[in-house]
Amino acid sequence: MSLLAVEHLSIALPPGGDRAHAVEDVSFTLEPGRVLCLVGESGSGKSVSAGAIMGLLPQALRPQSGTIRFEGEDLLAATPARLRSLRGARIGMVFQEPMTVLNPLMRIGDQIGEMLLAHRWAARALGPVKARIAALLEAVHLPDPGRIARAYPHALSGGQRQRVMIAMAMALEPSLLIADEPTTALDVTTQMQILRLLADLQRRRGTAVLFITHDFGVVAEIADDVAVMRHGRIVEQGTARQVLAAPAHPYTQSLIAAALHEGAPRIAAAADAAELLGVERLCKTYARAGIFTRTRARRALDSVSLSLRRGETYGLVGESGSGKSTLARSIVRLVQPEAGAIRLAGVDLRPLGRAAWKPFRKRVQMVFQDPFASLNPRMRVGEAIAAGPIAHGMARAAALARAADLLALVQLDPAAAQRFPHEFSGGQRQRIGIARALALEPELLIADEPVSALDVSVQAQILALLEDLRVRLGLTMLFITHDLRIAAQICDRVAVMRNGAIVEEGVTAQVFSHPAHAYTAALLDSVPGRNWRQGGAHG
């Protein structure tokens, strides 16, 4: 008997949505001790499926038909009290966003203890509560469990909180653990730690895991079985080995291709091209100073230097908080560094005031990370693109005509100029953002995590577009990303940042194949699916 058997599950969406069902005729099984990855992009119905198993769907969503059998018992027919007694005790769950899943007003120990108390019958065999809490925290490799138990969530980092969540989910040794994108919000190194922890616990305890993810790299890392979902349906399922090696469905193929980031081989820019942008010993400290309040300074940029040659794509990689975005924003004067120099074609921009900077605006443009936040929701797309040229003196009519051309350039319908941003998908919006940046015909394009907010399949398209435009328009590009796979795909040279400083810099292939710095090595080691990737890349 399968531990979990979902059969012909359909869950209706409230009327008025873009489709009738969140989940439609979904069936899969999970055997004891195995890891099933439910893979799909946003809106594919994977999280709704998990919610249905836990009985934690929003009120608007109700299962319409099908069954969910857990250890032989139909969960859809179970009473709320019965479900409650199963949740936590027999089925544990780990969520995506570690920063918000813990009650900020309750000590860690109490939050775990509360669960043990709620399932007293299940916890009784496991010994005294306090000792059990310490043991659990120890098991997820949290240092000084006693102190952690007394701490409040805000004192813990995201990775630590996710460990607490895992400890909590595993507290009563459930037979099923549902992990809903548990590593998506984490930095790569932390992500890998959590994945390893999960894998380790799973192996030792024999827990079955339903792992929800959008990343085939993660699948390669952890899955025994895979089910790929799209638009509420399962399009392909099988063992991980089988699906990764020979994806049958085109959608699965595209997802895997996107995860591998296989693109055209890089044609390295001439090494002797002239320098376009030079950054020298740039320093930026964020400080909150007050007369009485303690000054808490944070060095965001610690004497950073780099040099971009004309025509190259320069990658800046690092985890969140490493200072890469601060560097990008410093170059376009959204942030004002207190020391160092930023030379564009030999002119130091740092000391320039707002007005003196204006001519350089045309030469340096930026594409932003979040396509939903980077467009003014109350401004027509055409206006948004034309606003820049108009500000630099172009006639309005000409600017609007040019906006239409640019939309065509980024492969959108020129009629889009008349519409508002909310009428577009994330990928389309990012194209608009690129069109806006190109409207001023810049020499240097700074792309700050331009694809990290997009679904993997869309990421590939945007990256391809950027690469195409770069070549066609002869742009120089500073590309910022946390994703080493993307950097490897499109950058001529990369710099690895950590704690506001560049720890290593060089030609991409060189850096990635023979990292000189331990941190670079750790980063590379943390790329999910790296073994599978290497395998895939070589054959």
């Binding site: 009120q59 924003r329 376009v332 004067r333 959204l334 900077w357 204006k358 605006r361 045309k362 340096v364 443009q365 930026m366 932003f368 990370q369 979040d370 936040a373 980077s374 467009l375 003014n376 929701p377 109350r378 401004m379 948004a384 606003a387 820049g388 500000a391 630099h392 953002g433 806006r436 940046a437 409207a439 001023l440």
Partner: protein, 279 residues
């Protein structure tokens, strides 16, 4: 905009509020048609109960028609509510925008000023201001504006701070746009929804504040306002309950309508609420 209207129409409370407000506006606009005589005229015998001698809502201690008073009072209450709100918005949006956009020392200084004004109990401040500058339309509007702007400034500042950090504003900055263009075209339109909601609630509280001032005898003596009628009628409440009860109901309903409208607007303008997150 159309979606906002549609969302509002779905909200029964907001719809009711809007309809009632339209009625009050009509009453104010056509007061001189419905009651050609001045509301100050002694139209009948003092203390005529409601319904007698053709006085729908009775008369007061001088034989003035309460219904006429309420009709003309609608003008005053709405006028004071609207004008003082506009004045408070002008101060609050100006200072809040400056503080939120400029940040740093300017922000710090302006916020201290705002805090300062929030520290003084606002009703006492309003009473003092009106009393000192002697009660008149201008002093009442001014006093209400002065005690009502700080919340606007705080909301606008918060909006400006968030919006200023939003990528589309940074994109505009990178485009090399002027500050005026960024503030007026990028930030302000997006900061408007909470301001609009706040404004409708402020009109409501301005009407309440005006009525309280009038109740204490600090109203403009040349204007027939609802607060004035209650103030004049409260002393005869045992003799002629209708004099203070009806204008009280008028205030209550109008303020209620404005609140419903404000909430409806708030829900309609906030997409998160529009989806109806409920427990």
């Amino acid at each position: 905009m159309r979606t906002v209207l549609r969302a509002m129409a779905r909200n029964r409370g907001a719809l009711g509020g809007a309809i009632f407000l339209a009625l009050v506006l009509a009453l104010a606009a056509f007061a001189h048609v419905l009651f050609p005589q001045s509301p100050w005229d002694m139209a009948g015998a003092p203390f005529t109960p409601p319904g007698q001698d053709g006085f729908l809502l009775g008369t007061d201690s001088l034989g003035r028609d309460v219904a006429a008073g309420i009709a003309y009072g609608a003008r005053v209450s709405l006028l004071i509510g609207a004008v003082s709100t506009l004045a408070a918005l002008a101060i609050g949006v100006g200072l809040g925008a400056l503080a939120g956009y400029a940040g740093g020392l300017i922000d710090d200084a302006l916020m201290r000023v705002t805090e300062f004004f929030q520290t003084i109990p606002s009703f006492i401040l309003a009473v003092v201001l009106v009393a000192i500058f002697s009660p008149s339309l201008a002093s009442i509007v001014g006093a209400i504006a002065i005690v009502s702007w700080p919340p606007v400034a705080r909301v606008v500042r918060a909006e400006f701070r968030t919006l200023r950090a939003r990528e589309f504003v940074q994109a505009a900055e990178v485009q090399g746009r002027s500050r005026a263009s960024i503030v007026c075209r990028e930030i302000l339109p997006n900061a408007l929804p909470p301001i609009v909601v706040l404004a409708s609630l402020m009109v409501a509280s301005a009407i309440l504040l005006e009525s309280a001032l009038s109740f204490l005898g600090l109203g403009d003596p040349n204007l027939m306002s609802w607060g004035f009628i209650i103030g004049a009628g409260r002393s005869v409440i045992q003799l002629a309950w209708w004099v203070s009860v009806f204008p009280g109901i008028a205030i209550f309903l109008t303020v209620l309508a404005l609140n419903l409208l404000g909430e409806g607007l708030g829900e309609a303008l906030d997409p998160r609420l529009r989806q109806g997150t409920r427990l």
